[in-house]
């Protein structure tokens, strides 16, 4: 299997977090002019200081390796990555998880690996963090709703864990099961989705080097609202595939429907590969708004990872297997 890698980027080319934080002033200026125009509030040049320069209190993850799989695109500000989250276990409002996720307790935490594997075992989260050297993976993230981000995740290839537990020949799919505990995740008291949240990958997708278990972002431990303490990231798929707060990884011979498939099978498929040519039944997927940018940009096939992952789907009708 040939896996082409994008050009390596030097650490110096990754724009500093603080520099990116200031990009949003542009947006505030836009709305300001709109408001000033209509309401006669002529006060340009008085833009208040950005509230995004808040210091983070999260625990740092040190000695991160750079990855050749990272993109060199500009990072989405930390503030946006950690305040705009689809995490229905807390709320269906994207601004709420950041406020509500304090009830989630990511320590102690265990992840059970079960099913069609030689070594069924339960990992303590701290042991999982040492399973493989932690890398920074700067990936594009494309939400099915039509917005996108560039996130510097911290984690390691899912394949590292898979190799360690040795799946048997019956293992054709991998399921990721999120925590189901309405005390910690109050949004689960509503039946908006079938809890626990379940997502899955075909085993060859799961073995792909781009697929990672993420335990952090921006060099820090994963904030609760981003799916602490461990989540899946398969960057060529829509964001909802990336199960958060995983407690169970199950190897199976047949795929079971994911939570979103159970919610609406016509709109959410098993593969959920980013594909600008296959629209969501109710809206177009041709373009996306990168958070922090004004104009929409074209959505790329497999979220720009076509070179690396297209061969996984050769011969498949992607309109049928969406």
């Amino acid at each position: 299997m040939l896996i082409k890698k994008p050009d390596d980027i030097k650490a110096s080319e990754i724009t500093d977090k603080q520099v990116y934080l200031s990009r949003r002033d542009f947006m505030s200026a836009t709305t300001l002019s709109l408001g000033a125009l209509a309401a006669g509030m002529a006060a340009p040049g008085l833009i208040l200081g950005s509230r995004e320069a808040e210091a983070s209190t999260a625990i740092k993850l040190n000695d991160l390796r750079k990855s050749a799989l990272s993109t060199s695109e500009g990072l989405t500000p930390y503030k946006d990555v950690t305040s705009y989250n689809n995490f229905y276990e807390f709320s269906t409002d994207k601004y709420e998880p950041a406020k509500l996720a304090g009830t989630l307790n990511p320590r102690p935490w265990t992840i059970t690996v079960e099913g069609e594997v030689k070594h069924q075992k339960t990992y303590d989260i701290d042991a999982l963090l040492k399973l493989a050297p932690l890398e920074e993976r700067i990936y594009r993230l494309r939400c099915v709703e039509g917005w996108s981000m560039v996130v510097p995740w911290v984690g390691f290839s899912l394949s590292e864990l898979i190799k360690q537990v040795e799946p048997n020949s019956n293992a054709k799919f991998v399921e990721f099961i999120s925590l189901h505990d309405p005390k910690q995740m109050p949004g689960q008291r509503s039946g908006v989705l079938d809890w626990p949240y379940v997502e899955g990958l075909r085993i060859d997708e799961a073995m792909h080097p781009l697929a990672i278990l993420a335990v952090g972002l921006y060099g820090e431990v994963l904030p609760n609202q981003n799916g602490a303490p461990v989540r899946l990231i398969a960057p060529w798929k829509y964001g909802f595939k990336n199960a958060k707060s995983i407690v169970k990884i199950r190897f199976v011979s047949k795929p079971s429907p994911s939570s979103w498939m159970k919610a609406n099978a016509n709109e959410y498929g098993y593969f959920a590969n980013v594909n600008p040519t296959v629209d969501h039944p109710r809206w177009s997927q041709a373009r996306e708004r990168r958070i922090g940018e004004f104009s929409k940009r074209e959505t790329l096939m497999f979220n720009g990872y076509a070179e690396q992952v297209a061969q996984l789907y050769s011969g498949m009708d992607l309109k049928k297997f969406f």
């Binding site: 949003r24 002033d25 947006m27 505030s28 836009t30 709305t31 300001l32 709109l34 408001g35 000033a36 209509a38 309401a39 509030m41 006060a43 008085l46 833009i47 208040l48 950005s50 509230r51 995004e52 503030k79 946006d80 305040s83 705009y84 229905y88 269906t92 994207k94 601004y95 709703e145 917005w147 509503s190 908006v192 989705l193 919610a263 609406n264 629209d279 109710r282 809206w283 177009s284 373009r287 708004r289 958070i291 922090g292 004004f294 104009s295 929409k296």
Partner: protein
């Protein structure tokens, strides 16, 4: 009512609060990670609120006997149009950036946009004929007939919201329930009146 003009002025200013709030949020960088989405949703929400308020005035007048309430209906309706217009401009300008081709495709292909667009188009003649002069020109009966469109507009508006939501229909359901109640009230009153007329 003694202080009607003061009350009306106060309500006018209060109706501008959602707009001023958005301008302030933009000014102080509080529109969140996706400002265009925030602005669009907020303006859409307030359009629905003002549409429902407009439809609440007549039942409220009938039930309370406060006839002066009817003199607020035009203002409420025009604020519904004001927020709908801003909602529409936000979509055309900030969201699509005047990409007419994409806007056309959206309106044709996306039922939630089709119905929202239709609701907005239907609002325009109502706003244009809201003046006293226009009422006179059209004649009360024809004017009334035209302005019955508001029922259809409100239904389209709620559906527009309903079809947009990914899974959690709680919010659209609230608007739908209020609208259903307001429409049901009218049906019941009409039936009662017909029965009374028959008896006479």
């Amino acid at each position: 009512m003694k202080y009607f003009s003061q009350l009306k002025a106060a309500l006018f200013l209060a109706s501008l609060i959602p707009f001023v709030r958005l301008a302030w949020f933009g000014y102080t960088n509080q529109l969140g990670a996706n400002p265009i989405e925030f602005i669009t949703r907020s303006l859409g929400t307030w359009t629905l609120v003002f549409l429902l308020l407009t439809l609440t005035i007549t039942p409220l007048r009938n039930l309370s006997g406060w006839s002066w309430l009817i003199k607020l209906r035009r203002m409420a309706g025009l604020f519904a149009f004001f927020y709908a217009l801003l909602h529409f401009i936000t979509y055309i300008w900030l969201d699509q950036f005047f990409d007419l081709h994409d806007i056309y495709k959206d309106v044709i292909k996306r039922p939630f946009i089709t119905i929202g667009f239709a609701a907005f188009i239907m609002l325009i003649p109502l706003a244009l004929t809201s003046t006293n002069a226009m009422i006179k020109r059209l004649g009360g009966k024809r004017w009334l007939l035209l302005h019955r469109l508001v029922y259809l507009i409100a239904i389209c508006g709620v559906l527009h919201y309903w079809w947009l939501v990914k899974k959690d229909i709680t919010q659209p359901l609230i608007y739908a329930t209020v609208l259903a109640t307001l429409l049901a009230y009218r049906v019941v009153i009409k039936n009662l009146k017909t029965k009374q007329a028959n008896r006479l």
